[in-house]
Amino acid sequence: MSELTEDQFRLLWEYFYRETGMAFTEGRHAYIAPRVAERMRATGRQNFAAYFACLTAHASAELAPFINAFTVNETYFYREEYQLRCLTTDLLRHRTEAKPPGESVRLWSLPCSTGEEPYSLAIFLLENWSYADDYNIEIIGSDIDTAVLAAAAAGIYGKRALMRLDSGLVEKYFEQLDEDNWRIIQDLRDSVLFTSINAVEPAEVRRHGSFDVIFCRNMLIYFDEISRRTVAENLYEALLPGGYLCLGHAESMSRISGLFEICRYDDAIVYRRPLEGKP
């Protein structure tokens, strides 16, 4: 396929933005053109006009693969481990202060990519939170990319994804399939729910209920300013009063929204929805 023209780039940009809230930037032609070319090949469309018509048709089956082509899914187990330590040493301690044993603790990994983060949450809690047996821990992983959700549910990983785990954890929570691949054990696969989500859409976020802690790392960087603020309000709604939001280490909620309190703990800086009556 020849280079995208400015008009074609703008058409794609506007459509992608309307559907996802995520913004392409001017300098990303080189990133976008080959992905569009790949989708045109996959759908058998000979030119941009035919592909764009296919993409934008009502209830198009091409929308999900198109979005999937532009999402970044590079991650690994125990990424930004300091936040996991913060979860078990501080966040859950505060969240369970007024929660009797037997109640639910709900955690949300968003975006979850191919599952490394929600499974990491599960493993880290089982290994490091001494009250894990006292509560019903519910972990949900969500992503806009439907292809990665299928991979997350399958739970098969290569060496690179496991590089931060010591051999004892690998042996305990994975079964080796061959020289290069491991599958997370059935118990864990059965314990994490994976769902699709467009985080810009309030109704899609709302249907997931309320959470004690949300991990939303390295997602907001893909949105423009207004979408970022909309997502921040969606996440605020999705937190229980006093619930926590963990962003990526280079991200700051302070530049996006004033809805959250900043909480500084030994291992991490996180954001909290104020308790009721403390706006």
Binding site: S104, A122, L125, L126, A132, D133, D134, Y135, N136, I137, E138, I139, D187, L188, D190, S191, V192, L193, T195, P202, A203, E204, R206, R207, H208, G209, E225, I226, R229, T230, E233, Y236, E237, S257, G258, L259, P279
Partner: protein, 203 residues
């Protein structure tokens, strides 16, 4: 294992309240209803006046933020009109919220920037400079430097040009310094801005 998995959440039924009902909830509902109404009115582009009324009477900062976000999502003339109105109030939190919301509407601001930079109120002109920081407006700001009578507005303009200016704006910066020869801080700002522009250009 203490981990549990519940069934996947189902889609919520579509909201049925019309925007008049939401506007009424915005004024008289519970805090949660007011918050939800403010957010839902983002999808009612005709509701800017109702959102404006609520800004005048509701003081919960969370609710105000949701209202400002909805106005920004309207991204239309009525919303911009409301935001400009609140940018002129004495309430600092309203002014700050309005400015933040306007910054989320770069296309609308681009169209109105010249008018804002010529507003009668110097505080509005300073706010307009701030809004120009994230849009391609260097030439427009440079033109302002030739005629702007208030030195603080010039200083705000120079501060933004230090971030977004190009060598093409340096002559306007120099000329501005010549218009205010006794304002030492302005000379310092201009020198700093030009250094930043030239170092960026040479990078």
């Amino acid at each position: 294992m203490p981990l549990i998995r519940k069934p996947a959440p189902q889609p919520e039924p579509a909201a049925s309240a019309d925007w008049h009902t939401l506007a009424a909830q915005l004024q008289s509902g519970t805090p949660d209803e007011r918050w939800s109404a403010a957010r839902a009115l983002a999808d009612a582009p005709q509701s800017a006046p109702a959102l404006s009324d609520a800004l005048a009477t509701q003081t919960d900062p969370r609710l105000r933020e949701a209202i400002f976000t909805s106005l920004a999502r309207h991204n239309n003339e009525p919303a911009l009109h409301v935001l400009l109105h609140h940018l002129r109030t004495d309430d600092a939190s309203l002014r700050s919220g309005a400015l933040g919301a306007m910054a989320l509407m770069p296309d609308m601001i681009m169209q109105r920037l010249d008018a804002l930079l010529h507003d009668q109120d110097p505080d509005i002109r300073i706010a307009a400079c701030d809004l120009a920081r994230h849009i391609p407006a260097a030439a427009t700001l440079a033109a302002i430097l030739a005629t702007e009578p208030v030195v603080n507005v010039c200083a705000a303009t120079i501060d933004v040009l230090a971030d977004i200016g190009t060598p093409a704006e340096c002559a306007a910066l120099t000329a501005c310094g010549n218009r205010f020869p006794n304002e030492v801080f302005l000379s310092f700002s201009i020198k700093t801005a030009m250094e930043r522009i030239t170092s960026r250009d040479g990078a």
